[in-house]
């Protein structure tokens, strides 16, 4: 359902360019749970942004055949000066959904209480993660893109995410960037190791984790 074909991405850096991705091929089908592994700055977040369509590849092609969520990460995706409720209203409007349903789900899932009436810029990163998860789970996507963020939550939040993502929505595709070997081993059935702009897909997660550990 998601096909990346020879995707490259480079950014201007001084007089030259920094090549972050140098030709990545990847296919993710419905129900696949793919872990992205790589050191800081290897390009995990960049690849997730390209898959989400937040940024566009320098060359190559990305095809999405079903609905793909926005990247759930620490930053981005919110209007900081608006309250949690206003962000929920905005999301429900652009996705054409009933606000009351989204609101109920967000209140219940995020457990942010009165904080939802505060501007998002006043939130801690854990609170942002809660809101981001709540909003994207309130919309039924066929593929969820998760960038690290799951790890900032407390035990209770992690349990909820686990239930919503890996039990209730086990048939959906999931792309999950993380440094945590434990989480990747637990949740992913394949893993992509990104290094020096090249990406290698390992059908065996343990093998991928070994390669990653040796980087």
């Amino acid at each position: 359902m998601i096909h990346c074909e020879r995707v490259t991405k480079s950014y201007p850096m001084g007089a030259g360019r920094k090549h972050v991705l140098r030709g990545v091929d990847l296919t993710v089908e419905r129900g696949d749970h793919v872990g992205f592994l790589g050191r800081n700055g290897a390009g995990k977040t960049t690849l997730i942004k390209l898959i989400a369509g937040v940024e566009l590849p320098t060359s190559g092609r990305i095809r999405r055949e079903r609905s793909v969520s926005w990247p759930l990460g620490f930053g981005g995706g919110f209007q900081g000066s608006l309250t949690g409720y206003d962000n929920a209203r905005f999301i429900s409007r652009i996705y054409g959904l009933q606000y009351s349903q989204i609101r109920d789900f967000v209140e219940d899932f995020s457990e942010l209480g009165v904080q939802l009436k505060m501007p998002v810029k006043t939130y801690s990163s854990g609170m942002r993660a809660r809101l981001a998860f709540a909003l994207s789970l309130a919309i039924e996507f066929d593929c969820y893109l998760i960038d690290e963020v799951i790890m900032v939550g407390d035990q209770n939040f992690l349990k909820k995410c686990h239930y919503e993502l890996f039990e209730k929505r086990r048939d959906r595709a999931l792309i999950f960037a993380s440094h945590s070997a434990e989480l990747v081993r637990e949740f992913c059935d394949r893993a992509l190791v990104i290094e020096q702009g090249h990406a290698t897909l390992y059908p065996d997660v343990n093998e991928a984790l070994d390669v990653y550990a040796a980087l």
């Binding site: 981005g76 209007q79 206003d86 054409g96």
Partner: protein, 260 residues
Amino acid sequence: MSSFAAGWRIQRRVIGALMIRELVTRFGRENIGFLWMMVEPLLFAGLVGILWRYMKGPEMHGVSVVAFVASGYIPLTLFRNSVGRSIRVFSVNGSLMYHRQIKVLDFIFVRFLIEMIGAMMAFLLIGTLLIFFDLFPVPADLGALLAGWFFFCLFTFSLCLVLAPLSELSDALEKLVPVTTYVMIPFSGVFNMTSWLTPQAQKVMYYSPFVHSMELMRYGIFGSRIDAQWDIFVPFAASILFLLIGLALCRRIRRHLVVE
């Protein structure tokens, strides 16, 4: 056809959501809320109108000073605000790129739309008020007034579409915009009719797309009491040209846009 209808539905939804988002961030929900968007053009047109009334007397070239100034200042604030709002619009709205149904043209258009609606509300209000006090004529030709307004808006928007991407490429542009919009006032036709000028100046004014729209608007308001002259081809051709350049530039900027 059904995919076109679906696309249109999404488009309307996105524009509506972006408008509300922009209005809430800019004006909040306190006191008069979104009605603030017409306050600035209203105050400008009203206060400057009164100022001119006492500086220049009740009439100039046979038309009411207040009406002439009001009908000039509202398009002028529309132009100045829309141009100002389109600067750095890509970087400011980067977070919207998280949602694929939102395109860069949507938020450029929405910012312009808010200015346009605010200016139209102000125009309507001040016009009605002044007609009531007999300081503004009942529009002689409503069609001409609306057509003039349409071409003024079209050209302003096409200019925003060029300036928005250019402002991302060059920081200098941001600094140059306020002074440029000020210096262009004499070439905009908002405070004078072409027929009041010398033949030489008239020739120069012919190339200003704003002038033709303003003349048409003025004709719509004052009718034959003023000598209005316009050639709608000028603003139309200039708008089409700027729209095409703007679309190409926006596409280019979007490709290279870096989102946090």
